[in-house]
Symmetry: C2
Subunit: 249 residues, 2 copies
């Protein structure tokens, strides 16, 4: 039976409450100040790959949208990440965070040393958006519903606990506090409008669950490789690589 708009929205929000990666031990370790500098660096390196994937994912979405108006609205997501004449964009802001934690931004941008599991998860998301119905692609983006809370926690936790953290280093998260709600308000309304059958509601919910898996799997991989028991897989970042000159490993 097709759920009411309100009940379906509540179902989507419950997925975030149950599965969003703010519940992952690595997130708690990070914003609670329990990460070593190298663990923070490993997170910055791997999370860059996700940032790198997002505008490609959004372009893949646009390449399947036949309505110019929807493309125009969606385009702002790419602008937020890649930048415009007025806005340096999320990718450059992430590289400033990399620099702040002592990493060479060129090393980070090269995406060498990224964990294979990070690549697999992010590439799976790109492929999902390329191949699945538009409704599922939009539904997968709705993890942004839960993002402002995690960004606020990161800002607060990183500022409180790590010497590198200042406004410039954390500008990525601060900017997302205003960008993400704008995007997700549109995306949520679109999904509520278009999921007009029980089958579509199930498919949209499954897509959002899939996306929480994409995020969770990245933190699992980080935790396994760099926290406990630290078991860095072949080819992944080693704590003496990619540092800015003069920074201790």
């Amino acid at each position: 039976m097709t759920a009411s708009r309100e009940a379906f929205e509540a179902r989507l929000r419950q997925i975030g409450a149950d599965r969003y990666h703010d519940r992952h031990p690595f997130h708690k370790l990070l914003h609670g100040g329990g990460c070593t500098p190298d663990q923070v660096r490993a997170w910055v390196i791997n999370r860059y790959y996700y940032q790198h994937t997002i505008p490609m994912k959004d372009a893949a979405f646009m390449s399947r949208v036949e309505d110019p108006e929807l493309r125009r609205i969606w385009r702002s997501r790419i602008e937020d990440h890649d930048g415009t004449a007025e806005n340096e964009g999320g990718i450059r802001r992430w590289l400033r965070l990399a620099e702040a934690v002592g990493l060479d931004p060129d090393y980070v941008a090269s995406r060498r040393g990224v964990l294979p599991a990070t690549r697999f998860a992010c590439d799976a998301y790109l492929r999902f958006v390329r191949e699945r119905p538009l409704l599922e692609a939009v539904a997968a983006s709705l993890t942004e519903l839960f993002a402002p809370k995690i960004h606020a926690e990161r800002i607060e936790g990183l500022l409180a606990n790590y010497a590198f953290a200042d406004d410039a280093a954390l500008s990525y998260f601060r900017k997302r506090l205003t960008e993400a709600p704008k995007d997700v308000a549109f995306g949520l309304a679109w999904v509520l409008d278009h999921a007009d059958s029980a089958e579509k509601q199930d498919a949209a919910a499954a897509a959002l669950e899939f996306k929480t898996d994409v995020l969770w799997a990245q933190l699992d991989a980080l935790h396994h490789a760099y926290v406990t028991p630290a078991e860095i897989p072949p080819g992944a970042w080693q704590p003496d690589e990619g540092l800015l000159a003069g920074r201790a490993a």
Copy 2:
């Protein structure tokens, strides 16, 4: 053997001289004033499908580009077609041409009545850009090298020969006179830089030939359906459909 940059550019330009659709009988008929109003309308309806495809094709390209800088440069093509706050965009300008020739722009935007061969050709281009190496995708865009001439001929020929033609109706072509050279200067340099082996030069030349086929096939289909012998396939636009109120069929 790898050709010199100059020789390779000459090879690409020769493809235009031999195969670009300014050599097609339908183009000559159109800009020479030999088309009936219905034949002009059939062209406007079918060519809209190509316009409709182009920003999706450009988004498909961006979805495969890993370099944020290249994505930023390419994004302006989507802006040119879909529009920005300051620029209504090529798709809306094409719909103004549709209105000027007496067609209901909503009918044209619906893409009903488009010839199957038009769809197949344009969809093949989208798929090509989705699947082929980036070099071939960029090379395919280089038909823009030959576009200013055909746009100028269209402006001149349409103004001289058709009552509907005025500056507002033809604004699409006038705008492309400045947009296309900017894009193609970048695309040509990129292809010349990246086609650094004989194999890649051959692949890029083949991609450009493929694209000339995409354009030529659309005019072949128009010519067969609406000129001589007029043989409109099932489901395609009939000269009494999609007209603005008060316009004779």
